[in-house]
């Protein structure tokens, strides 16, 4: 039953076989045969972006909100180089995406042909794996392998570079079930003996903390369910990284908030003072650990991660468990129940008392204002007015991102899309479109700063063309807020290039794109304006003019341990130079 087809037909067939419904892309000379095939079918929807970086971030948003791999299709040369930022972003945050690039014909490779770039060379360090397919006979097989690699083990971006003559030539199609999936079969089951050690550690813990991360979300909804069961059965406090928000609900009673550089006081002090730390799918990133030497000095640490190289990379741990979070938590709970395990009630109740004292500091308190909109206030109102809705949030990168993480509550996984590892300004708008396309009926809001937002604002055209009613909630302080904050606190208030003059009029910009623009600068008008944004049936650019010099607290300056956090109350003294030696 051999089926002959062209390379371009194989691409479409293989994507269909892999269950792909949407491709984000931009055509060009080297992918025209594939676009010709897209034109002649109706199973796969193509979303035309405005810049290839946008296509990759949309694929990321799609993947992060659905748990399925996102797909982007771009041309050779500049198409491929424009995709590099998105690929690196997906690599850092372990997002499964498959990027197809066109390439000059095989006989022209190496001749500096028009729109030729060494795509596999350029993307080798920013993909989990990439391939240049030189023979049509291998094309379908390679695409199936690519999906396998992207979604197995620690997820990540993969790229397939397809020369134009390979798209034209004919060969036999290899269906998914006959593809050589190679030897790549990462281990997913944790070592039961190590899990038993963790159970013992948990039984003896007096001051435990669960530190969860993006790995819980990548592992699938079942992992979040198991995490909730684990927390309910142990009554342990739980914190999460930026990437892991939503795996445990923000309304849950054991939730102590996000940790890290701009994490909550109680979360960071609990990390610093714990005696047992259970890392579930996080990677001891430098935004989390602060000064490594002083990171949680008195604790025994367990680390569950599907990637063996994450273990002992930054922090040496006592109980390493290599495996998929779902499988490991299943086994952990099985053992915990089978042994009839009990926690140290006395120790735990004292620990909770201590945590409640830290909570009482109310580290997210800020000085309210009746005349200007405080960014924190804007997010509190956004949270209050959208709570309980079928809501997805994406962000750009900077102060607004940290405030969104602090002031918005996430009840479920896959509802929060942000660029954590790479910190890509310009991620949020395209990501919000990717999310919206996957969830057409849901409310999708991109919490943005005006500087980040401008980096990929051309994608409003995509939102309009494909009727993605994304809400761009821009906290506009006319500054590169986070850069400005660092300059204020650590560089003698020398604001080197951290403000933008000549910002566009965002309302007029919205009109130019054909969508709705809303401007709000008075706290009294904010609720109505937010409701107007939510109710509008179509994309909205919301220009929320906020306090220009607000700083984001708490903050752990780099190179400081968790217990040397800077709170907003300290900041005045700090700025006056009282403690700056």
């Amino acid at each position: 039953m051999s089926k002959q087809m062209t390379g371009a037909q194989m691409v479409i067939q293989a994507l269909k076989d892999q269950g792909v419904e949407i491709v984000f892309g931009y055509p060009g000379g080297a992918v025209l045969p594939i676009y010709d095939e897209i034109f002649q079918q109706n199973d796969i929807r193509h979303v035309l972006v405005r810049h290839e970086q946008g296509a990759v971030h949309m694929a990321e948003g799609y993947a992060r909100s659905t748990g399925k791999p996102g797909v982007a299709l771009v041309t050779s040369g500049p198409g491929a180089t424009n995709a590099v930022t998105g690929l690196t972003d997906a690599l850092m945050d372990s997002i499964p995406i498959v990027v197809l690039t066109g390439q000059v014909p095989t006989f022209m490779i190496g001749t500096d042909g028009f729109q030729e770039a060494d795509t596999v060379g350029i993307t080798r360090p920013c993909t989990k794996m990439n391939w240049l397919v030189k023979d049509t006979a291998n094309l379908a097989d390679t695409i199936h392998q690519a999906f396998h690699v992207a979604t197995h083990g620690r997820p990540g971006p993969v790229l397939i570079d397809i020369p134009k003559d390979v798209q034209f030539a004919t060969a036999e199609y290899v269906p998914a079930e006959k593809a050589k999936i190679s030897h790549y079969q990462p281990r997913t089951a944790g070592d039961p003996a190590q899990i038993a050690r963790l159970v013992e550690l948990m039984e003896s813990a007096e001051r435990p903390i669960i530190y969860s991360g993006g790995g819980v979300i990548n592992s699938g909804p079942r992992a979040s369910q198991l995490l909730r069961e684990l927390v309910a059965e142990t009554n342990f406090p739980i914190t999460s990284t930026l990437m892991g928000l939503g795996s445990y609900p923000a309304s849950g009673k054991n939730w102590v908030g996000m940790l890290g550089m701009h994490g909550l006081y109680e979360a960071n002090l609990a990390m610093h003072g714990c005696d047992v730390m259970i890392n579930i799918g996080a990677r001891f990133d430098d935004r989390i650990t602060g000064r490594v030497k002083d990171f949680s000095p008195k604790s025994k640490k367990a680390h569950i991660d599907i990637d063996p190289s994450s273990i002992n990379k930054v922090i040496r741990v006592d109980v390493p468990i290599v495996g998929d979070v779902t499988e490991v938590l299943e086994e952990l709970l099985r053992q915990w129940r089978a042994r009839g395990s009990k926690t140290d009630q006395r120790g735990l109740s004292q620990w909770w008392k201590q945590i409640d004292e830290w909570r009482a500091v109310k580290c997210l308190t800020y000085k309210p204002s009746t005349t200007t909109i405080k960014p924190q206030y804007a997010l509190e109102r956004l949270e209050a007015l959208t709570k309980g809705m079928d809501r997805y949030i994406t962000t750009e990168v900077g102060q607004h991102q940290m405030w969104a993480a602090q002031y918005l509550g996430f009840e479920d996984p896959n509802r929060w899309m942000t660029s954590g590892g790479l910190g890509t300004m310009g991620y949020g708008l395209p990501a919000s479109i990717g999310v919206q396309v996957a969830h057409p009926e849901s409310l999708v809001i991109n919490v943005a700063g005006e500087a980040s937002w401008l980096m990929n604002m051309q994608e409003m055209g995509t939102a309009m063309q494909f009727r993605a009613p994304v809400k761009q909630f821009i906290l506009n302080n006319e500054r590169l807020g986070m850069v400005r904050q660092w300059q204020e606190l650590l560089h003698g208030e020398r604001y080197s290039s951290s403000w933008s003059e000549s910002l566009p009029d965002f309302v007029k910009l919205a009109e130019a794109f054909g969508c709705k623009g809303i401007k709000c600068s008075d706290p009294k008008d904010l609720d109505d304006a937010i409701m107007e944004m939510i109710r509008y049936d179509g994309p909205v650019i919301f220009d929320c003019l906020v306090e220009k010099h607000e700083n984001c607290f708490p903050m752990i300056p780099s190179g400081k341990p968790h217990n040397e956090m800077l709170l907003s109350a300290d900041a005045d003294a700090f700025k006056s130079g009282a403690v700056l030696v």
Partner: protein, 183 residues
Amino acid sequence: MSALNIKKGSTSHSAYDLRSGSTEIEESHTLAVIVENEPGVLARVIGLFSGRGYNIDTLNVGPTHDPKMSRMTIVTRGDDSTIEQIVKQLNKLVNVLEVQDFRDADYVDRELVLVKVKVDSKTRAEVMQITDIFRAKIVDVQPTSLTIEITGNESKVEKFLELMSNFGVAGLTRTGKVALPRK
């Protein structure tokens, strides 16, 4: 909470913790990496070393008994945790099939060196005598030089080259170490 006490010029003025690197002892280690014999594999492995800041002292690549696989022998330097990371990162590459860490294993290793030594009528005999003692081979003779092939483990090769340097070395090429586990 404690007062923030940041000294001017301290690392806290950076977005990163600027502490100095590891002070653990760096040692030389030999690794063998069995890879799929596919285009770009060598670039991937080398890219991993350069991208993550690991050292390569020598690198040797060649096919194995199975034409679908190649064996790379890499001599690198680093403290224990660096070596542990190198092994893990190599294992993470999709087309790496196996990493053999020779830290504890019993293995045989060899290196082949071609060295062109300057000689004249007075020194030629002595160079030939030393070559003989080391069971090296003279592979080319010119009026003013001898090219010698020597194979052996690191200490033997180094000792030989040290002796030859007294006569003057006009050219040198070495394959880098190749190694196989005994079992």
